[in-house]
């Protein structure tokens, strides 16, 4: 079996995004939610680089990927800060404990 290289990378990208999406749907732990987002964004960065490789515009792809990496890191920082503060206030990392208005 001789798979073309872009197809291998494409399957990796979609599977990575799928794993992240599954974790996002299934988990109730706030830190796991941030981990799932990180996995999905890694797939997106890889997709940018693959697109740059296929179209020959690698420099544009690299600059876009740089922006995505910065945004991803900030999302992780803010998400973790929120998770820590929620844990300190509610005593739990459970997403369901946030719905305090619903009784």
């Amino acid at each position: 079996m001789n798979l073309p290289l872009p197809l291998i990378v494409l399957i990796t990208i979609f599977c990575l995004a799928g794993v992240g999406l599954y974790c996002l749907l299934i988990t109730r732990n706030l830190i796991k939610v941030v981990i799932a987002l990180q996995l999905m964004v890694k797939g997106a960065v890889l997709a940018f680089i693959l697109a740059g490789n296929l179209t020959g515009q690698m420099n544009t792809a690299q600059t876009l990927a740089l922006t995505v990496i910065v945004a991803d890191t900030i999302v992780a920082v803010v998400g973790l800060a929120l998770a820590v503060q929620i844990r300190l206030r509610t005593g739990s990392l459970d997403v369901k404990s946030l719905s305090s208005l619903k009784r």
């Binding site: 992240g20 680089i49 693959l50 020959g56 990927a65 900030i74 992780a76 803010v78 820590v84």
Partner: protein, 163 residues
């Protein structure tokens, strides 16, 4: 091709181990390994600058942040029952992945290059100037996030009693 396959399988294995680990700290370490392997794949695809940034930021900085946050928040090893039933989640994910792959593979993308492409730095400082401004704003938001991470525990808000 073998190298791409091995790295791809390694990325998927690390990602699955990352979401299935019981302890959050172990999850963070598997995430760092996923990030390192993604950096290897990016390097293989011909983008060494982003590979280095991904390796240092994804596998370094973010992992340190995760370890720090988990140390403050504490391990929560209790397995909470998910709101969505597992078969429904698996079906939704498989559907999304298959549809995405089919749409991408059926699309006929053709790119016409008219002018020689400028250098990395020229694109970043001239064509993507708005992106740079956005990055500055995001980094400022990140600083505020770190302040939130390090903030002291605040007592819950209590309404003042009326006399």
């Amino acid at each position: 091709m073998i190298l791409y396959l091995l790295v791809g399988l390694g990325i998927l294995a690390c990602a699955i181990l990352s979401i299935s680990a019981r302890r959050l700290l172990i999850s963070a370490i598997w995430l760092a390994l996923t990030s390192a392997l993604v950096a290897v794949m990016i390097y293989l695809l011909g983008a060494p600058h982003i590979a280095v940034i991904e390796l240092s930021v994804g596998a370094g900085l973010v992992t340190v942040l995760f370890v720090f946050a988990i140390n403050i928040a504490g391990e929560d090893t209790s397995r909470l029952k998910s709101i969505i039933p597992t078969p429904v989640a698996i079906f939704a994910v498989v559907l999304a992945v298959v549809l995405g792959l089919v749409l991408i593979l059926r699309a006929n993308v053709s790119v016409a290059l008219t002018a020689p492409l400028p250098e990395n730095s020229a694109i970043l400082w001239q064509s993507r100037y708005v992106d740079l401004l956005l990055q500055v704003v995001l980094i400022f938001a990140g600083v505020l996030g770190v302040i939130g991470l390090l903030a002291e525990k605040v007592k819950p808000h209590r309404e003042e009693e009326t006399e």
